[in-house]
Structures are given as structure tokens and as C-alpha cells.
């Protein structure tokens, strides 16, 4: 809680700090890190019901394309919200058709969904197809830091939803669904409703992050917006940071994106090797992620 508040406060103050010639680079990296952390928080919400999704790259992309297409007509904020809503709508359709699938089968179905969406966007006319889609900056460029603060806002919203859901009665329904679906039903939990609700909230937030991303990169292609890499990031970060927590995906996202950026600057093409190595080591030695490490340091519970 304090940790999450601290990160958000720092994010708000960052543009005012004396960063010298690195300022533009730091703000740009931070903005991207906030959006990826938001995406990871969104992914984690769905994971709390036991559904491991590979569709979050697609929800991110759906939000990005929707917001990009709607912003010129509707303005930035309505376009972003509608982008989230489009992602949520698609998640409802996907959720309804995958209700009976569990574990790996669910993951494969979500992967197939991502590929279908990517192909559709690639073949469609109004999306610019494979040529790509130019995007207006946030608020049509009226505020230089508009996009940055939107990213901070998205991160704050994702973190708030994650914290609130963790403390609500829904928390128990989600955890019960994850840990034993049949038992949860016999105890009175409407498993179907819980799963679909989590799916829609999660996809909405992913779409929201995608919309802000579109207004940051200013140019979308299906390869970038729907790349499998983003779906993998959405899943790796919560595992690295600590599943089913708020601080885990939040800090995990900031660390992973910073690390990735730094490695890319240092060793260019080979950065993915080191990146992969670090993740493998984390999973091997920190099964509960960063949060597990912190809990152990506090001497609270044995891991």
C-alpha cells in the first residue's frame, strides 16, 4: 500500500526532477514502464480466477487501435474509455466461449484469439492494414506532458482496482474459483459470473493501457500492437513480481522494463538472452517472485 503510493507519487514528481540531458529518455521509458505495469496488473486480476491468458497483448492492441481511430472524432478521454470498452466486449465473447477450458487449454484458446484479432486488423481497410495507422498524440498535442500523465493515471487506476479487489468480498470468490472450481460452486460462488467479470475488468484495463500507448508511439502496426511479446510480458511480469499481489506486478513491471531498456542499450541484439536468463533464474529461485523475497526478508513467513 505504502509502496504503491510511493511509486505513484514518484511518478507524478518525476517530470519536475533535474534529469538534465536524459530527461526525455527517462520520461519516455517511464511512461512505457507505467503502461506495461498497468497491463501486468490487469493480467494478474484475471489470473486470480485461475485463468492464465495469452490474449492480453490482443486486448492491449484492441484498446490501442480503438483509441487511435476514435480520438480524432471524440477527443482523447472518451476514445480511451471506449478503447477499454471494446477490449472488454471482446473479452466477454472470448470468456463465454472458453468457460469450460482450464489451464493450458484456456491459454491456447486465448493465443488463438490473439492470432485471429491480429489477422483481422492486418486484413481490414479502416485499420490501415499492414501499412500501419498514424495516431494523434494525446489531447491533439496540446499538453507536452499529457501522454505521460495519462500513463500515470492508467497505472494509478490499475493499482487501485487491484488493491480494492484484493480487499473486497469478490477476492474470496476469485481465489476460491482459482483453487477449486467445483467446490467453489457447491459453496455458492457463481463461478461463471466471477470469471466473466474478472475477464471484463482485466481486459478493460489492458485496453486502457493500450490506448495511451497508441498516443505515445504515434504509429501502430499489427505486428507491434498485437505482438506475442507483449502477451508474454503481461504474464512474465506478475510471475517475476509476485502473483495475486498489487505491488508485485507494479514493481515487477518497472524493473523488467528498465532492465530491458538498459540491456538493449548495452548489448543491442543480445539483450533478449540476458533478459530470458534473468527470468529463468527468478522462476527457479524465487517461486513467489519479488514479493516472496520481501516477505522472507521481513522474517514474516517462511517461503
Amino acid at each position: 500500500m505504502i509502496l504503491v503510493g510511493g511509486v505513484l507519487l514518484l511518478a507524478l514528481l518525476l517530470p519536475g526532477l533535474p534529469l538534465g540531458e536524459w530527461r526525455a529518455f527517462v520520461l519516455d521509458t517511464a511512461q512505457f514502464a507505467f503502461l506495461i505495469s498497468g497491463l501486468a496488473l490487469a493480467w494478474d486480476l484475471l489470473a486470480r480466477t485461475g485463468q492464465l491468458s495469452l490474449a492480453h497483448g490482443a486486448f492491449f492492441g484492441l484498446g490501442a487501435y480503438s483509441a487511435a481511430l476514435l480520438a480524432p472524432g471524440l477527443g482523447t478521454l472518451p476514445a480511451l474509455l471506449l478503447g477499454g470498452a471494446v477490449a472488454a466486449l471482446f473479452s466477454l465473447l472470448l470468456g463465454l466461449s472458453t468457460l469450460r477450458l482450464q489451464g493450458m487449454y484456456f491459454a491456447i484458446a486465448t493465443l488463438a484469439f490473439s492470432e485471429v484479432i491480429r489477422t483481422l486488423v492486418l486484413k481490414a481497410q479502416f485499420t490501415g492494414g499492414s501499412i500501419g495507422l498514424p495516431v494523434q498524440p494525446a489531447f491533439a498535442g496540446a499538453y507536452p506532458l499529457g501522454g505521460y500523465y495519462l500513463a500515470v493515471a492508467v497505472l494509478a487506476i490499475c493499482a487501485m482496482v487491484s488493491l480494492l479487489l484484493g480487499r473486497s468480498r469478490l477476492h474470496y470468490a476469485m481465489a476460491a474459483t482459482r483453487q477449486g472450481e467445483a467446490v467453489a460452486r457447491v459453496l455458492g460462488v457463481s463461478v461463471v459470473r466471477v470469471k466473466l467479470l474478472a475477464f471484463m475488468i482485466s481486459a478493460f484495463l489492458a485496453g486502457l493501457a493500450g490506448g495511451v500507448y497508441a498516443m505515445k508511439t504515434l504509429f501502430l502496426t499489427p505486428y507491434d500492437a498485437f505482438g506475442l511479446g507483449r502477451a508474454v510480458e503481461a504474464l512474465v511480469i506478475p510471475i517475476f513480481g509476485g502473483l495475486y499481489t498489487t505491488a508485485g506486478p507494479l514493481l515487477g513491471g518497472l524493473i523488467v522494463v528498465s532492465l530491458e531498456t538498459w540491456l538493449r542499450l548495452r548489448i543491442g541484439e543480445g539483450y533478449l538472452v540476458v533478459y530470458g536468463l534473468i527470468l529463468i533464474l527468478t522462476i527457479l529461485f524465487l517461486p513467489k517472485g519479488l514479493m516472496g523475497l520481501l516477505a522472507r526478508r521481513k522474517g514474516g513467513r517462511h517461503a
Binding site: R169, Y172, A173, A175, A176, Q179, G180, A182, V183, A184, R185, V186, L187, G188, V189, S190, V191
Partner: protein, 238 residues
């Protein structure tokens, strides 16, 4: 209270339940016994809605629940504990019960749910273990948790599937006392059991199943003397 008429279910070529008629009266403890494969667990799964019948009907407190999903049956007061204990392993005992207390009856306020959990912890003797993670319990404690969680949904009729299986005699005795306390607290009980001493100690009435059918019912003594029952348990040559 619970009325079952002509309930049937087949899995491929296997008839697991065939025209089962059953009646549960309020306040009683009813045992369902029978050899392995007699269809007892199928009956319980049909009653709690985990599988759908091919034919027949289930009426509970005057409402038709034949095709109702499991959670709706729980909301109406039909609770269920499993034979193979399946606690939510990453939750404490208290949190496990809280799931049942929060969702067993829709719209239960959080305060009320916490009160129900306290009562159930007290009744089942789990209070000292309330903050233990369910993954760390002993088998006996697991069984108690299974019962307690079903109780937390505040059932009017509790379905128990061989909850004594795997317990030592002394532990089974404790469990028998617990089921009696549950009945005293106003809950009707239908249980499946293999251990005859437990059936004799608990049941007001016994229903015997074989090959998916009810072959006899009555008091323990009546059923034990029934020729069809002896045949089912001892074989035809007896």
C-alpha cells in the same frame, strides 16, 4: 423436505442411477449405503447438481431443482461436503469458511458472514486452527474443515459423502459426535458411509443401493436383516 422421483443417469453403457425414489424428512439423519459402484456418489452428485440427470426430478422444500446449477442449490439450503477433501490450500481455515459464509446465501453482509464463521469454528472445534493455512492441516482437520465449510453456507439439508473415510476408529468416533451436534443445531443430514458402526450410531433411517437402484430402506436393524441386502453384500450363493 427433499423428494426424489425416478432419478436416472447413465454414463455410456453404465447405468449409474436407475429410477431412484427417495424422501428425506426434516430433522432426520439418513444414511445411504451399498457396495462399491452401487451409485451412491452418483446420487450425491445428482443431488448437488454437479451432474445432470437423464430423467426424474428433484424437489427441495417444494421447489423443483432437477436442473438447477450447484450454486443455486446451495443458496436454497442444500449443502454438500466432499469425500476427497478439497480445501482451498492457499487460504487459512477462516478464509475457507468465509467463502461459504459469504456466498452460501446471496447478499450476506460481511459482518454476518464473519459471525457465521465464528459459530461454525466453535461448533466444529476448529477455532484453535482458524489462522492455519488449509494446506498444512492433518487429515482429521481436513475432514472437519470440509464439514465446516459446508456448514458455513448455512444449509438446511447437508449432504455428506463418506466424510469418515480414512479416519482411525477414535477419530471416526469424534466425527460421529460432530455430525450429531450438527443435527442438534437444526440441520438435516443425508450421508453416504461404508463403515457400518458409524451407520448404526448415526442413522435414523438407512437406504440401501445396488446397481443404481434403491433395494431396501428402513431402520438399521430392518435393513441389516433384509434378504436383498445380505445378497448384495455377501453374494448370491449365501
Amino acid at each position: 423436505m427433499l423428494r426424489v422421483r425416478g432419478l436416472s443417469k447413465r454414463f455410456g453403457g453404465v447405468v449409474a442411477a436407475s429410477g431412484i425414489d427417495l424422501e428425506v424428512e426434516p430433522g432426520e439423519i439418513l444414511a445411504v449405503i451399498g457396495p462399491n459402484g452401487a451409485g451412491k456418489s452418483t446420487l450425491l452428485n445428482l443431488l448437488s447438481g454437479l451432474i445432470r440427470p437423464d430423467a426424474g426430478e428433484i424437489t427441495f422444500l417444494g421447489q423443483d431443482l432437477t436442473y438447477a446449477p450447484p450454486e443455486v442449490r446451495t443458496w436454497k439450503g442444500l449443502g454438500r461436503a466432499f469425500q476427497i477433501v478439497q480445501p482451498f490450500p492457499e487460504m487459512t481455515v477462516r478464509e475457507n469458511l468465509l467463502v461459504g459464509a459469504l456466498y452460501g446465501k446471496p447478499g450476506t453482509p460481511v459482518q454476518t458472514a464473519h459471525r457465521v464463521v465464528e459459530q461454525v469454528l466453535e461448533l466444529t472445534g476448529l477455532a484453535p486452527k482458524a489462522e492455519t493455512e488449509a494446506g498444512e492441516l492433518t487429515l482429521l482437520e481436513d475432514k472437519r474443515l470440509e464439514l465446516a465449510r459446508a456448514l458455513a453456507t448455512q444449509p438446511k439439508l447437508l449432504l455428506l459423502d463418506e466424510v469418515m473415510a480414512g479416519l482411525r476408529p477414535a477419530e471416526a468416533l469424534e466425527a460421529v459426535a460432530l455430525v450429531q451436534r450438527i443435527r442438534t443445531s437444526g440441520v438435516t443430514v443425508l450421508f453416504i458411509e461404508h463403515l457400518m458402526p458409524v451407520v448404526r450410531a448415526l442413522a435414523d433411517r438407512v437406504v440401501v443401493m445396488d446397481y443404481g437402484q434403491v433395494i431396501a430402506q428402513g431402520s438399521y436393524a430392518e435393513v441389516a436383516a433384509h434378504p436383498k441386502v445380505r445378497q448384495a453384500y455377501l453374494g448370491r450363493s449365501a
